[in-house]
Amino acid sequence: MASFNPTKKAWLINLGPSTYRLVGLAILVAALAWRVNDVLSHEAYTAQYWILQLINGLILGGLYALVAMGYTMVYGILLMINFAHGEVMMIGGFAGYFALTGFEALGWTTGNPLQSGLSVVVAVLAGMLASLIIGIALERIAYRPVRNAPRLVPLISAVGASFFLQYTVLLIFGVTPHYYEKPAIINSGLSVGDSGIFISYTGLFIFFSSILLMIMLYLIVQRSKMGRAMRSVAESKEVSALMGVNVDKVIVFTFALGSVLAGAAGVMLGLHNTVMKFNSGFFPGIKAFTAAVIGGIGNLPGALLGAFSLGTLEALGPSALGLPTEYKDVIAFSVLILVLVFRPTGILGEVLSEGKA
């Protein structure tokens, strides 16, 4: 195997790591800029179109952020990808659907603003509660028994749990998609002057409530006693245990927190897309994980940043590159690969990909 001499073939990749990567990045940025410039000078997209796309991107980003929080917290503490997190979100979406259907039967969704507003809030709370229960059960049944096993084992367990939850929902609630009926209070939208820019109230609701929830999460993690315990367990389980932290309790709390946010996101996703299916959680889940990685996994502000960047890129990217919108997923995953190649820590992350991981 003389040909695998390290000194001979290393030029393939390893020529002065930073300079060559920088050159590659520069070429890539130049090519993309050229392409965008080309598209912009030929295609007739109005400013209004771009603003609308940007708004869509921000709404999507808010949703991704809520789900990404759960991934990033669990990864920060257990160093595992909670593959079933998207399903936890989907179950929250289903609970919200049933809550809203109940209010519809009472006539509240179309009733006065107080009634329909209340139905939205209760639907979100129902989603949170359902996700909370599923999230805690998931930790207890699928993850705790394999917590100390090699890395692959919890991952496979998570994949199994994901399949199990998806197809359980399929079996119990049926294959047919469940269509959300938007309550009256968020059914219309806001027109900005006569510029033709229209923001749906659903979008506003999603954006602001996700921001609100994330501020609450930030306060819990940074200010509360449990939050301090969480951060300490993320540093080292053993040392935290010696300091009198109940590690099991902290892990359950982390799952609960992430699941509650995912449940809220599930209901919001239902309101946004107006449809819930047994596999509605899978792709948003993977995207949210992507967002968490882009921002730097294990880092809460990073997940927020990553989610909003991913949402915006997905909304603006295809048009800016002159591609059909079906390519938005390709763009999302390409961004992920590029970020990991050029900045493996994510935008704000600590050095994990080569050290701890």
């Binding site: 073939k9 699928a142 090699p150 010696l242 690969i337 990991l340």
Partner: protein, 552 residues
């Protein structure tokens, strides 16, 4: 601890399980058999719980198992009563719970659906249900009181001599059973195909691999090996079309599994986008040979390639794809690698789906020609199976030789510790790239076989679940072990084909199996010896650590 109330927790767990089985529609699918399934669940739970508390007095154990029986069965009866009442007053429950239809209630109460809708009293049926379920639980508790330890020691003495030849005899008996039963059509799950014969073959393959592992080296083993190989070669000639077609599918996954085993098992690089290379193989052969593909339509004079030309082309393209993916992700480890490869797999599928002019998008590549050998068309399940078996044998040989070679040992070293491996003079870059390249090559090869078998391929055939399936099969089988791949492919790809008639429950069972397997036997069914040792060492260490550091 040992009070009757400690039966409450298992009772609630049992109720949760029965409620779950009820909501996913067991009674609707299996009719009144579902009651016996529920009974079996209660029996098992009560038996296991009572065995754990075997030291406590019999009266207590029986009380506990009574609780374990009563709570779930009363809960189920109450629920069914409510549902029956709703159904009698024409309230549709299936808008929420899709499986709760009148026949469902009828199966649990021993009535007909018409009687349920007409509002006939379900109470006598429910009394019956509670009686059956509770007595199953009490029976479980009662049977746990038998002195099993004595029984076991008695058995051990008698069968000592018999035991050593048992692993040998089982596969041979199974094959004999397959020969005698397989040709007549014994029906399983009411289908036309001879699924029972196929099942016997699966168990034969599984037990032979197990026998080969436990029999000591020697003349007996060689003889057994020859018989087993001959039987394997003979099987496709005796099978019917359906059996061969399923086995062909299993063999294609075995080839993929062996490839992924190199990447994940030997080199320790977690690849979740393995399906990308499978797609590269299938599409490269498909696009170069299908009469409707863009290349054949637009390149004048190009008539398309044969299967035999497709193989080397696919190998080269797979190799290139493997290196193409390998180069950017070389620096990543663990989960980062997993997520990037997952993204890569999805990108390939999305490109195949959206590059409409070139790949025909969702309508796929159609009419891919089957292989032929000297003018003989090999496009039938039996010949394709033979072809796949030959490829699988070659791939297995390559993988075994690689494992024991210098490269193989550097893979293992790298998996254990990259820094130390590098210090020992292993070039991480080329070693990793080689692992990716070999894995990609094998997947691409199986992609060609798949395309030739399927005739039409669509982008959705290359979705994420293929990667997950392959990964799951090598993990269930036992990571790093080649026999494990075979067992895993039979268990995860082959068995579900037999269970097609209970299709809805396949994926749920698959998910539950993965979770349970990871908790109970993470090393897989037939693990590589090194892996098994590692996992058990880890457990010891963890137990020790847990003892040292109390968690509160």
């Amino acid at each position: 601890m040992h009070t009757a109330l400690s039966g409450l927790r298992p009772a609630l767990i049992a109720f949760a399980i029965i409620l779950y089985l009820n909501l996913v529609g067991f009674p609707l699918k299996f009719g009144s058999v579902a009651i016996w399934v529920f009974g079996a669940v209660l029996f098992l739970i009560s038996f296991i719980v009572s065995r754990r508390a075997a030291a406590s007095p019999p009266a207590l154990i029986l009380t506990k198992s009574l609780i374990i029986g009563l709570i779930p069965s009363l809960g189920l009866a109450l629920l069914t009563y409510v549902f029956a009442g709703m159904q009698a007053s024409q309230i549709t429950i299936q808008d929420v719970f899709a499986q709760i239809l009148p026949p469902h209630t009828a199966a649990l109460t021993g009535l007909t659906s018409e009687q349920v809708i007409a509002g006939e009293s379900v109470v006598p049926g429910l009394y019956n249900l509670v009686l059956i379920l509770t007595s199953a639980a009490v029976l479980g508790g009662g049977l746990s009181l038998l002195p099993y330890e004595k029984l076991k020691s008695l058995q051990g003495e008698k069968t000592q001599g018999f035991r050593s030849t048992l692993p040998l005899l089982i596969p041979l008996l199974l094959f004999a059973a397959y020969l005698s039963l397989g040709l007549s059509s014994v029906q399983l799950f009411g289908s036309q195909e001879n699924k029972f014969g196929l099942l016997l073959l699966y168990v034969f393959f599984g037990s032979s691999l197990y026998a080969l592992r436990v029999i000591p080296q020697g003349r007996l083993k060689t003889a057994f090996l020859i018989v087993a190989v001959l039987a394997t070669i003979a099987a496709p000639l005796l099978n019917d079309q359906f059996q061969n077609s399923v086995l062909g599918f299993v063999t294609i996954f075995i080839i993929m599994g062996i490839g992924l085993n190199i990447v994940v098992g030997f080199a320790g690089l977690l690849d979740l986008g393995y399906v990308a290379f499978f797609a590269v193989g299938a599409y490269s052969y498909g696009l170069l040979s299908s009469p409707t593909s863009w290349i054949l339509v637009n390149v004048p004079g190009f008539e398309g390639i044969t299967f035999w030309a497709g193989l080397p082309i696919a190998i080269v393209l797979g190799l290139m794809a493997g290196i193409l993916l390998g180069v950017p992700v070389l620096r990543l480890r663990g989960d980062y690698l997993a997520i990037v490869t997952l993204g890569f797999g999805e990108i390939i599928r999305l490109i195949l789906l959206n590059l409409r002019e070139f790949t025909d998008g969702p309508s796929g590549v159609r009419g891919i020609p089957p292989p032929d050998l000297f003018g003989v068309n090999l496009g039938n399940p039996r010949d394709l199976l033979f072809l796949a078996m030959v490829v699988a044998a070659i791939v297995t040989f390559i993988a075994l030789r690689l494992r024991d070679s210098r490269i193989g040992r550097s893979w293992v070293a790298m998996r254990e510790d990259e820094t130390v491996a590098q210090a020992m003079g292993i070039n991480l870059i080329s070693t990793k790239l080689l692992a990716f390249a070999f894995g990609a090559m094998f997947a691409s090869l199986s992609g060609v076989l798949y395309a030739a078998r399927q005739v039409n391929v669509y982008p959705d055939n290359f979705a994420l679940d293929v990667s997950i399936n392959v990964l799951a099969l090598i993990i269930i089988g036992g990571i790093g072990s080649i026999e494990g791949v075979v067992i895993g492919a039979i268990a995860l790809i082959g068995l579900p084909e037999i269970l097609r008639s209970v299709n809805e429950y396949r994926v749920v069972a698959f998910g539950a199996l993965l979770v349970a397997m990871m908790a109970l036997r993470p090393e897989g069914l037939l693990p590589s010896l090194r892996r098994k040792r590692e996992l058990h060492a880890g457990e010891q260490e963890n137990i020790a650590r847990r003892r040292k550091v109390p968690s509160s």
